[in-house]
Amino acid sequence: MTGTIIENLSGRKLAVLMTFLLLCQITCFLIGGLVAPTPANANSILGTVCQDTSTVKNDTTKWFYNRGRGSCKSINLEDLHQDISEADIVFAFQMPIPRDSNTLDYSRWQQNLIGVLQFEIKYHSQMEVKPRSVVTIDARLAYQNKGDPEDEWKLYTQSIEKRHLDCYIHNDEYLYNCSAIPLFELGSLYHDFYLLNVRLPVDTPDMNTNIGHLQDLWLTVIHQNGGFTMVWVSLKTVFFPCIIAILVWFWRRIHMLQRKPVLLEKMLLCLGLALCLLNMPLEYLTLHFDLPFMLLLGDIRQGVFYAMLFSFWLIFAGEHMLIQDISAQSSLKQYWRHLSAVAMGCISLFIFDMCERGVQLRNPFYSIWVTDIGTNLALTFIILAGISTGVYFLFLCYMVWQVFKNISNKRQTLPTMCSVRRLHYEGIIYRFKFLMLATLLCAALTVIGFILGQVAEGQWKWDENIEIEYTSAFFTGVYGMWNIYIFALLVLYAPSHKRWAVTENTSDTQNLSEEIEFNGIPSETSSEISSLTSYIRKVNID
């Protein structure tokens, strides 16, 4: 008779293991809170208004910047210039901006770059800016590397984009309050310096007419912090060999058995493989190669992992359903209804991601939210994913509820058994519930941490000098938690090799007596995942 390790583990060993895992968890949290900086940082850059004196405006070799040799002639937009046309005006953003009299450059550890535009529009009572007016932006992005001549910028990408400009005003203010416009997302920060040139063309009579008296253009660039990437990649580097080792150990243990692996063991293996994929420290490659698809790949890796985790929970609950007729080997086909909810959600999110970040591989300025069709399409996929998640959780809750109902039903028959066996069964039920509790705890902690993070970010103020980086702690904490959770699952749900007959050396004398009782049960030869199911069957036979 074989069970899983969790059933054969003594209470003390379980406690030691749990304490160890808890310590690992706390370490992960503290690393994020005390070592890592905030995950990302934003810098605001005020656009320099350059005057383009050339006659050919479509020349992409001509760049405008405000620092270094060949910098442009800047003008002040507050005064009106009657002699200048809109095609002559270029907003130049040179990033990163220098600090402490030093020229800074982007490091590849900073991973990605997101640009957000903000318009500062002066209020005039006679020319009001309507909400949701469309602004057309001619954006060109160039790059330069250390060692290049100061006036040599190479074209990275260019595009003419439309964006919605949402401005409103409270009675008699001086400036409109305009919403930020997401402009670009670079999946890789391969080069050292970047330069963005923005023009607001008026090619047709109704283009850029309702944008009012634009005074300033701000660009906020968000990059991941190098320190956070380092801590993150180090965590992955530590977790990756661990998960590989545990997976190898788990698979060897299953192969040493006489029987074929059951569904739950296969699911555990798949879950482990998904975690492997998530833990693979691919970020090292970005330090040497230009890999703009890293953002998309990161999304896919997380998606695969969560899909596997959700499917595992369903099947875990299903396999412990205790509704008998388990003569046949259970297979994935039994769960197709439940799993289709997971698949549906994942596929919709994947399509949405491909439409947004997939297209951004070709054009970093692309946004699906600009056109009405795009917005509807994106919303459709997001709502579909939301519905699937709702359906999934309904299924899961129903199944868990059924498991608990079955357990409490069977428990009523417990007092009729002899005391040794009863203690053993109670222990099994306790441990099963313990793991359910652990899952719930992990899920609840993730959700609570996430909500707290949102609240904390919403009330963000710089002068509250907090030493602990909450957001980083949340990320490393949650990441570590799910890793440890899966490590624990793989270890505790691996088949036990402890033969009941040869457990003389164990300190637990109860096991010995139980083993004798168990030997008389005829159903033991069938393959089973846990002795809980065997116990149910035995009760049926009784």
Partner: protein
């Protein structure tokens, strides 16, 4: 022998008297606690900034700016390139002050001498409190803005005063917000005036120093208070699992509106013997760091009094229909008003064309202008 020694003594005495007299005169001309550094707002830095050698180490720009104390000169020498931004900040502050007080009896009039606001700066009144707050706010805002342009290369990076290895710090944790830098620089540059001179504890001068520091702080805090936090979600698939927020600078108009409310609710304080500011009336509520405080009552701005710096309201334009402070009854202090009918041509129905053209119609309007007697 005796006569020569008496003569020597007389000369010595005369010299002493002269020294004391000139010392007195100097002090009257440039006391420590007046707002004379506001002259920076009147300096035409645009003309200076064409000279590239202006910010070089050898440039004597800082000694050319009048009204700076020795401590401020030190800061100036260390951050020469910040000075145009400071000047713009002071200038914007003064303009904003004039906008906020355009309808009041005191309308933030600027004199041409070194004191900028005239003899009014010697009175620790509400109005002085406001001028300190608005200029501090203007400088703080202007420095923050100049940093974000990227042309002011010496702006700080992190919370630490000067990181040991800037490049590593930047890669590790990025650079902090410039709003913070503007706040800190202004604190260092403006408040140093009130700190560098030791005065008798509990004296009027110390009270003035404390008041100025409090009001400067209120101005700087107003910049932060009115800045808007904008956030961007950029987590998995663009979800809000990861949010980054930043401070968006407010316009000086919003800050001015906020500070004028603070001016209306300013608290009168007195200086205690221990050298702390105390409420003059214990029934008032305690002022916070965002509130303005003053020590002395304002002079009567209704009548012209050149020794106090009051110009009087004679000749000011008032609003006949308003019952508020800009109404003729209040603004003219009950002296009545003159009515004048004029025809004005003004632009109306304007349409703005990006980037640089405004097309307007001209309207002819007949209006009545009321001026105080």
């Amino acid at each position: 022998m005796a006569s020569s020694s008496v003569f020597r003594f007389l000369i010595l005495l005369a010299a002493l008297v002269w020294i004391v007299a000139t010392e007195d005169g100097r002090r009257r001309r440039e006391p420590w606690t007046n707002g004379s550094w506001f002259t920076m707002g009147l300096v035409e830095f645009e003309k200076w900034s064409n000279q590239t050698e202006l910010f070089s180490d050898k440039s004597r720009m800082c000694s050319r700016i009048r009204g700076l104390t020795p401590g401020q000169r030190r800061v100036c020498r260390r951050h020469k390139d910040h000075m145009p931004a400071v000047a713009v900040g002071v200038k914007n502050g003064i303009t904003e002050c004039q906008h906020q007080f355009r309808d009041r009896r005191w309308n933030c009039t600027v004199t041409t001498d070194d004191t900028v606001f005239g003899p009014l700066t010697f009175i620790a009144s509400r109005e002085t409190a406001f001028t300190h707050a608005i200029t501090a706010a203007g400088v703080s805002l202007s420095v923050s803005r100049a940093c974000r342009d990227g042309r002011l290369a010496s702006c700080g990076c992190s919370r630490a005063a000067r990181p040991r290895n800037l490049h590593n710090e930047w890669v590790w944790g990025g650079c902090g917000d410039n709003l913070e830098y503007g706040y800190k620089f202004t604190e260092g540059f403006v408040d140093i005036r009130e700190r560098e001179r030791k005065v008798k504890r509990g004296s009027r001068e110390q009270g003035r120093q404390l008041m100025n520091r409090h009001n400067n702080e209120a101005g700087r805090r107003a910049v932060i208070k009115k800045s808007r936090v904008t956030c961007k979600c950029h987590g998995v698939s663009g979800s809000c699992s990861l949010i980054t927020c930043w401070q968006q600078l407010a316009s000086l108009r919003e800050i001015g509106d906020y500070l004028r409310d603070k001016y209306d609710g300013a608290t009168e304080v007195k200086v205690s013997r221990r050298g702390k500011l105390r409420l003059s009336n214990p029934h008032y509520s305690l002022p916070t760091a965002q509130d303005l405080v003053y020590l002395e009552d304002s002079p009567n701005y209704c009548v012209k009094n050149s020794s106090l710096g009051s110009l009087g309201t004679t000749g000011r334009v008032c609003n006949r229909t308003s019952a508020g402070i800009d109404g003729c009854a209040l603004l003219c202090c009950g002296r009545g008003y003159n009515t004048k009918r004029t025809t004005v041509r003004e632009r109306c129905g304007c349409k703005f064309h990006w980037c640089c053209h405004v097309r307007c119609n001209t309207c002819v309007k007949t209006t009545e202008i009321y001026t105080c007697k």
